[in-house]
Symmetry: C2
Subunit: 322 residues, 2 copies
Amino acid sequence: MTNRDTATLDDVARRAGVHPGTVSRVLTRPGRVNEKTAARVQAAVAAVGYRPNLAARQLAGGKTSRVAVIVPDITNPYFAEIVQEVQLGARDRSEAVLVADSRQAAPDELSAVESLSPNVDGLIVCSPVAALAMVRDAADGKPVVYVNRRGRNVAAVHVDQGAVVTVAVAHLRSLGHDRIAIVRGPSAFWSAEQRSRLAGKLGVAQLGPVSPTYEGGLALIDEIVDGAFTAVATFNDVTAFGVLGGATARGIRVPDELSVIGSDNIPFSAMTNPPLTTVDGRARQVGRAALDLLGSLLAGDSPRVVVVDPAMVTRSSTGVAS
Amino acid sequence: MTNRDTATLDDVARRAGVHPGTVSRVLTRPGRVNEKTAARVQAAVAAVGYRPNLAARQLAGGKTSRVAVIVPDITNPYFAEIVQEVQLGARDRSEAVLVADSRQAAPDELSAVESLSPNVDGLIVCSPVAALAMVRDAADGKPVVYVNRRGRNVAAVHVDQGAVVTVAVAHLRSLGHDRIAIVRGPSAFWSAEQRSRLAGKLGVAQLGPVSPTYEGGLALIDEIVDGAFTAVATFNDVTAFGVLGGATARGIRVPDELSVIGSDNIPFSAMTNPPLTTVDGRARQVGRAALDLLGSLLAGDSPRVVVVDPAMVTRSSTGVAS
DNA sequence: TCCGACTTGGCAAGCGCTTGCCATCCTCGC
DNA sequence: GCGAGGATGGCAAGCGCTTGCCAAGTCGGA
């Protein structure tokens, strides 16, 4: 019922006729050991089915072979896809991933970072709302990559938020709309602020801010009607679903009377009625990039920021202006 | 840039004027140490901000303070909610959660269990498709609780699959439907088999099996039309979305001409057009129960199975038979 | 042929914690 | 007042691995 006895370094060493230290080197220092010896060791490893004990490895060397991902809401498929992608990538480097859901609360975010950081090699924190300096402190020296948030001298990967707005507005204008509104997200979100700034520059009306939920979108319909907008771009897909719901409730036909664009392109956005036109937030690409970036940080590179381009996904919730 | 020096047991011991072993006992063996001494130690712990080193703890004692959750698809909100709930509960016991996405493939499932098990105290595996015996072997002695799957002499928590069918069919019949079909899920799923069995008993027609995806549902519409069914209960909500989409494409009005019931009650099911009537799969309750069950296993209890009751959620995709 | 420089692998000291084993000390019951 | 037995806390042996240090071996050039 207890653990089947696991082979240790010593077992391998004995079998290969070398010192345990040598086995360790073969496994963690490519090139440090003579090729023939290494081969013999590898054979022994395979023969006894050796699997390193991570706890011992961490204790002795500090490496954990684990990364943490902090998300504001794992229930949101956008973040779920990021996690999934990170997990896939981590598997390839035989690392495990710890996840924590901060429920969008700064304190939870910080406590998650703080409690996880000692037990991982690095962290990926998505859409943080806590001050970056606090997150850094909580990480206690462990490398952190931020997703969809940037700051001075930190590693980050984010979607080009300006482009999200640009692309959506361009799409709408090409359809002949000129009464366009964009919906602001919570001002605690970096992405929301970025978009808002660009919307200002573009001279587009702004609604909200509202919480980025179905209810948030639902509540928007009055503002939309009052403002006589013919097109609206929401903060994310779920909010767009709310707008769609509100429109249906009011008997407003989409896209005939109102065009709506979401953001993120979660899988469900293709399943609504009508299917949602949206701006793809490239969750998988973002997730992958974040893991890669973390890897480079771990390898000693200095913080970098990678920007990924969003993409229009035209479906049926937008149409020519009436 | 490296770790801020962390207080160790020895620091605490020195400060409290006791032996490190004593500190360890205070922290892990309630009652084993004299109350006054314990208080002094606790004070020292607080004073130096001691945080146990999990790696050392695991190495010496075997406890990891970590649990693993294996899901077939984290992108599916049903599983995301389970994970979220497990994570919340784990946080309260100051445990961390490792997640792996098996992409519904038995080999991935097994390799996830195998690679994670040495580094966790126990595992929760959701909707496993691999043989239970193989999972048990891969777990290498670590306790496992299965979600939505049961087997002989294993701990499990699952929704009463029979009730899912019963409840859906009853709802439909009460609406006057008698041309009812239920959609079979992949036969690798225990839940699918259970439902199918009950559908047989109830004398309800069965469609499929189809993959539990949007496309799967979409493809079903022909069968539905051909069979002249007036109501259909799908394997899960996403499949129902597909049916809804197919109906829309064919100009079939829901619920006027066709009633559809989903299963799971993922948040998005309330956001469709029309909002989906569905059978709530109690994701949060299941997640919580799974963690509790794992806890009791860890405490030495023997495997138990907890069954949770599904619940009808009536929205607008079902209506009286035409 | 000899020497210096580089390779290679052994050695052992820990990493921070848990726990079995003991030596004390205290508490009762008689 | 005394001995038994429980309560308490010290002690030290590891858990399995990494890594700095060093000795021995290897090789090529002068």
